[in-house]
Subunit: 475 residues, 2 copies
């Protein structure tokens, strides 16, 4: 039953955070809030017999006893989630330590992020934890999600528990929560998520190392306000990025942004140029915005690494093709000339007005799929971006004739098999019904993004990551 | 009945394109396509008695006669839409000229965008038009939309005909079409739209001038592949941007992008640095991506110009606040210190852990509305960005308690009235149901964007535009 994702060794220490034998919820309660919602959700997912609730008032919650003291908890719990007011946290840690608990997620806020007295309280909590050798995540976080065993210490939408290959590291609880609520809408499904909060103990470096060994994770996306320790971060990224792509969104680039992070998670966000250098040296990929981070993750999670930087663009809108082309070139890709045989193949079926070149604007010719096929098979092309748009009037006409998008696309999903080693990304915009149909027709293996520029940049990032990894493997 | 939007004078010439007395559709037909869809849609909108159809085969279409020749068309049409194969266009123009038509939209493709022979054909069409003093839009376009009188020469989703303050200039037909299909989903409604295609005659400069005088238009968004004439574009922008914001997305920034535009609409996209200079000199605002163009248009269409560059940020997610802050600073905004009275006002109601500063991270305190109010009323603040996010679990809890977003937000729409002269933009992400509820609760006057970075940049653009306009009014 237990899904042991971490292998033994240096990082096995974090396993109980994601895969506990049993969990104590300190601060469970009958009124709305985390202390009510988390136990209920864990029960729903079948964790009822391994969830132990603590509340000094006693009584019961949804049929589970509310133990008056941590010492009263029976069984073999190896993890605790603490959701009590900040001032009560050091005491809870001491009691948990006495009860033999060595892994604690502190969700309570009101520590270093609030200023001087909060910092003192965090120090006190840290001492309490150290005294018992307790490893902690937080405070000021919402802990973890593991989709493999459906264990979590935060309520998210049901769809966020669908297993996928992307691990999420966030500093802030709210942000992590919001991100998880929305990712499934973008076709992005996760393996594990961790929100680190103030990083009193466990930091992003240890988590990166843990995720490096996690078999369910193939891509890591990370939101960072500042490194707990710059040198350690570089070392961690250096190791992890050799094996798995690490996509980073870093805030605190500006003076005002730095102040914002300081009062948010007590992070010192440091000189942005240094971070840029660390990311570049280690092969970590930096996103320029949240939307770009998500688009990149979708592409990295589904596409192979390209053999080179040569992009082929097929489009039914010349304008969108031009926008994608600009973004691709500016991000370091090339749009090579097509092989004469590819040109001939497309031209033989195309109307006279069609320019068979790269980007390949098929307009309303209906030659979209043959164009994609020709690009995928062209030896000069390492990866393909297909921009599939259709005016609503045309889409409606198809629908009225009873032709579904799946029928219209016909062999599209099989196109993927023409060149399984070449990244393939679709982009579409316009009527949401059309995009949804397209997305469903293509399936999860081919991402459908809605920004031509972001799609091109995500493919460029895929190339950069592959090239950096290869250079470092050789070097 | 007629909505005369252009005033008389130098640009009155374009009026029949948007507001015809009657229109001839050359190439109407009974099989699927533009020639079938456009007449049917115009009839549906009440234009039946002013639509005249031409097809050499004769017969009828939806109860309207198909005239065998242009010469046979009765009544007083003053506009024609040509949807015949490219090679038949010059002849159609000659016949339209003889029939007294002086305004023609050529939707047919297969001209300069396809190469040498297409260029020759376009020259031939141009000569035919000149012979009769015909003004043309196109070829290789889908013409116009006017939401005021519900006249259009392209089928779009019904919602795209909802009148709004934003005019759209696009070069490409497909792109314009797709854009219009999707804009309403972003809360963006249009006054007029023009797709220019190959610009054999009417170009963006004349249209800009026309829209400057159009009373239904207060914001102009333009997608440009290249200027028909760089000097004329500068002059046109220089005049228009003094009165109305012009938001520009320009492709062909790179060599490959330039080639793409050449084969798309036959545009020479020129040196990108020159365009940047023209936009800067004239106060036109350049967007970096299509998504940014749309977000900017939404903000410009609904918000007043700020008095200065001082931004206040209220957020329920510290991370998103930090990301927005970085983007704001990098785009030239400041995040000033709040007035002591504002700080006191917020602090008096806030929990101890809340840092009352700018950006103002209210976390889960429930103090979102008071924070927004304090920022809007702070004399140090010229504009406000509010990032409202809520974990799904909390949103669901409210919903289960029967509390709607509208109730939760309570006085939010009235907040707008606290400082009607200060721009106010919301940003949200996460569960789509939450965002939709928020959007509906706030109404159309307060845009809800989904990218914190783009929201900040749109506010910065609003400031830059206002500052440029003021400097030029003084200078």
């Amino acid at each position: 039953m237990l899904m042991t994702s971490g292998s033994p060794g240096e990082t096995a220490d974090l396993r109980p955070f994601f895969d506990p034998e049993g969990v104590i919820i300190v601060g469970a309660r009958r009124s709305p809030g985390f202390g009510f919602g988390i136990p209920a959700a864990l029960q729903r997912e079948g964790w009822g017999d391994r969830v132990h609730l603590v509340n000094p008032a006693g009584g019961e919650l949804n049929g589970l006893p509310l133990h008056k003291a941590i010492a009263d908890v029976p069984g073999r719990p190896d993890l605790a989630v603490v959701i009590v007011p900040a001032t009560a946290v050091p005491q809870s840690l001491a009691e948990l330590g006495k009860r033999g608990i060595r892994h604690v997620i502190i969700e309570s806020a009101g520590f270093a992020e609030t200023g001087e007295s909060g910092r003192a309280l965090q120090e006190e909590a840290k001492r309490a934890a150290s005294r018992y050798g307790i490893r902690t995540i937080g405070p000021n976080c919402v802990g973890v999600i593991n989709t493999a065993n459906r264990f979590f210490t935060v309520e998210v939408v049901e769809e966020a528990l669908t297993p996928g290959p992307v691990a999420v590291i966030a500093q802030s609880g709210v942000f992590g929560n919001i991100l998880l609520d929305g990712l499934h809408q973008k076709g992005l499904f996760i393996s594990k998520a961790v929100t680190l909060g103030n990083r009193m103990d466990v930091n992003e470096c240890e988590v990166l190392e843990y995720l490096r060994r996690d078999q369910e994770t193939s891509v890591i996306m990370m939101y960072l306000e500042g490194a707990a320790d710059g040198r350690l971060l570089r070392d961690a990224l250096d190791g992890v990025a050799r094996e798995k792509p690490v996509l980073v969104l870093k805030s605190g680039r500006t003076g005002a942004g730095k102040l914002a992070t300081a009062s948010h998670t007590g992070s010192m966000s440091g000189e942005d140029g240094l971070y840029d250098a660390v990311f570049r040296q280690t092969g970590a990929i930096r996103a320029r915005s949240l939307d770009e981070l998500v688009d990149m993750a979708r592409v990295f999670a589904t596409q192979p690494l390209p053999a080179g930087n040569r992009l082929g663009v097929a489009t039914s809108s010349g304008s969108l093709g031009a926008l994608a082309t600009d973004a691709a070139i500016e991000s370091g890709l090339e749009l090579p000339v097509l092989e004469p045989t590819s040109v001939e193949k497309v031209r033989s079926e195309a109307p006279g007005w069609m320019n068979v070149r790269n980007p390949l604007d098929v307009g309303p010719s209906g030659q979209f799929l043959p164009a994609m096929a020709a690009l995928l098979q062209d030896p000069n092309i390492d990866m393909v971006l297909s921009i599939a748009v259709m005016p609503y009037a045309v889409f409606r006409e198809f629908a009225q004739m009873g032709i579904s998008m799946r029928q219209w696309l016909g062999a599209a999903p099989e196109l993927r098999d023409l060149a399984p080693h070449k990244p393939l990304v679709l982009c579409s915009l316009g009527d949401p019904g059309f995009i949804k149909d397209l997305d469903e027709a293509l399936g999860l293996d081919v991402p459908v993004l809605t920004s031509p520029e972001s799609a091109a940049r995500a493919l460029a990032a895929l190339y950069r990551y592959g090239a950096a990894r290869e250079a470092r493997a050789v070097g």
